[in-house]
């Protein structure tokens, strides 16, 4: 589902990670660990195809990416937000989804009137309507309460059991039986070459 060899990651012309080898099969998950600024977000953005890798090879199935911001439109209702993404991905919104993310009571509420945790739940529910197997999750549990974290972990376990795969950058224990990858040993050396032309711009 995902295979990367000797991957190098840069952000804003500064090399962050080097020599990273990753493989992920269907049904598996990988937890990314590492201190702030190590390059977890940049790595996920590269895997999602939002930025090119600095070096190395990357083969990845199309992924559903969830970043720090949820892409929730404040003037559209929860249902309108979700149906928009479902239509964009050519999928549908299964009825069980409202229950799984506890959004049923919020269907008609405008996105701008949601709390931070509710907005995040909506952002995570979007993953379910994409129909994509590979999930790239960047701090998915930020601003979720304990019950919502447990609910999301349940959904994620079901997704993995159904042949999905996930790479999760998180500081919170999700209760997943998944290997952890500490990114600290892959920190790029100070003199590593930057892969961007931004250095001289």
């Amino acid at each position: 589902m995902l295979r990367a060899a000797r991957l190098g990651i840069e952000r804003g012309g500064v090399p962050l990670l080097q020599g990273l080898d990753l493989t992920l099969e269907a049904g598996a998950a990988l937890i990314l660990r590492g201190p702030n600024g190590i390059g977890k977000t940049s790595l996920l953005r590269v895997l999602a195809g939002l930025q090119p890798p600095m070096e190395g090879q990357l083969e990845a199935a199309p992924a559903a990416y969830a970043g720090h911001r949820d892409g929730v439109k404040p003037t559209l209702t929860v249902a309108e937000n979700l149906f928009f993404w479902a239509e964009t991905y050519g999928g549908s919104v299964p009825d069980a989804l409202w229950e799984a993310f506890d959004l049923g009571r919020l269907r008609g509420r405008p996105g701008g009137a949601l709390s931070a945790g509710q907005t995040r739940r909506l952002g995570l529910a979007r993953l379910a309507v994409t129909g994509r197997r590979l999930l790239l999750l960047d701090e998915p549990t930020v601003s979720l309460d304990a019950a919502s974290v447990a609910r999301f972990a349940d959904w994620l376990r079901a997704h993995l059991a159904g042949g999905g795969a996930a790479i999760v950058a998180t500081h919170v224990a999700l209760g997943l039986e998944a290997p952890e990858l500490d990114l600290a040993p892959f920190r790029a050396l100070a003199g590593a070459r930057g892969g961007s032309d931004e250095a001289f711009l």
Partner: protein, 218 residues
């Protein structure tokens, strides 16, 4: 792509969405002109084609920075970029939604404002036609400009500086078509050139906008 157009239209219609803002601006600019140049009807009739076109251009400019900036701020742009919809199609959908909320109302309102400027009778048809043919180019060029400046705080002024010079050919031929009709000449050639400009923009600029978005999303 249909979903994106419908979403943008829906957002534009909701509170604070900015629908009608460009139209109101167009109205006010055109109404202000007689106050500035005086009520002499011969002068007004002569400058009416140019005034109407410049005002339409500025009104279209007004809402350009919303095309991608809001989607970039709330993260939808990155999510759209990872969606199955190609970014080229997303840029085209954005331009279409901008045209429906700005260019189309301007086109429909322009004849009414022509009366305020005492535009000669034979020029009303060509005025509507030239705006109908030219405003898609304004939206497409604007979408490209918005894609180039997305993620740039205070990008609005930069966007205007970037986009206005690109509007010059559309303005020249659009206004010239109306002027010719007002003087009783055949307006067909400039109108066809405006339509050609719009079609050229339609063919090329969604790709340019998508390329600019990809760079800005890195």
């Amino acid at each position: 792509m249909r979903a994106l157009v419908l979403r943008d239209l829906r957002i534009a219609m909701r509170a604070g969405g900015g629908f009608g803002l460009g139209l109101a601006f167009f109205l006010i600019v055109v109404v202000l002109v007689p106050f500035g140049v005086g009520p002499e009807r011969t002068v007004l009739a002569r400058i009416a084609p140019g005034i109407l076109w410049v005002a339409a251009l500025l009104a279209a400019l007004l809402s350009l920075d919303r095309i991608f900036a809001l989607d970039h701020e709330d993260g939808s742009l990155a999510l759209l970029a990872t969606a199955p919809l190609p970014l080229e199609a997303a840029a085209l959908a954005k331009a279409l939604a901008h045209w429906i909320t700005t260019g189309l109302p301007l086109t429909l309102a322009a004849p009414a404002l022509g009366i305020l400027l005492d535009l000669p009778g034979p020029a009303y048809g060509p005025l509507t036609l030239s705006l109908l043919a030219g405003t898609p180019a304004l939206s497409l060029i604007g979408t490209f400009g918005a894609a180039v400046t997305v993620g740039n705080r205070r990008g609005g002024l930069l966007l205007s500086l970037l986009v206005l010079p690109l509007y010059v050919p559309v303005l020249i031929f659009g206004a010239d078509g109306v002027r010719r009709a007002a003087e009783g000449l055949d307006p067909a050639t400039p109108l066809l050139l405006v339509a050609g400009l719009s079609l050229g923009c339609l063919a090329a600029l969604p790709f340019a906008a998508a390329a600019a978005l990809r760079v800005n999303l890195r």
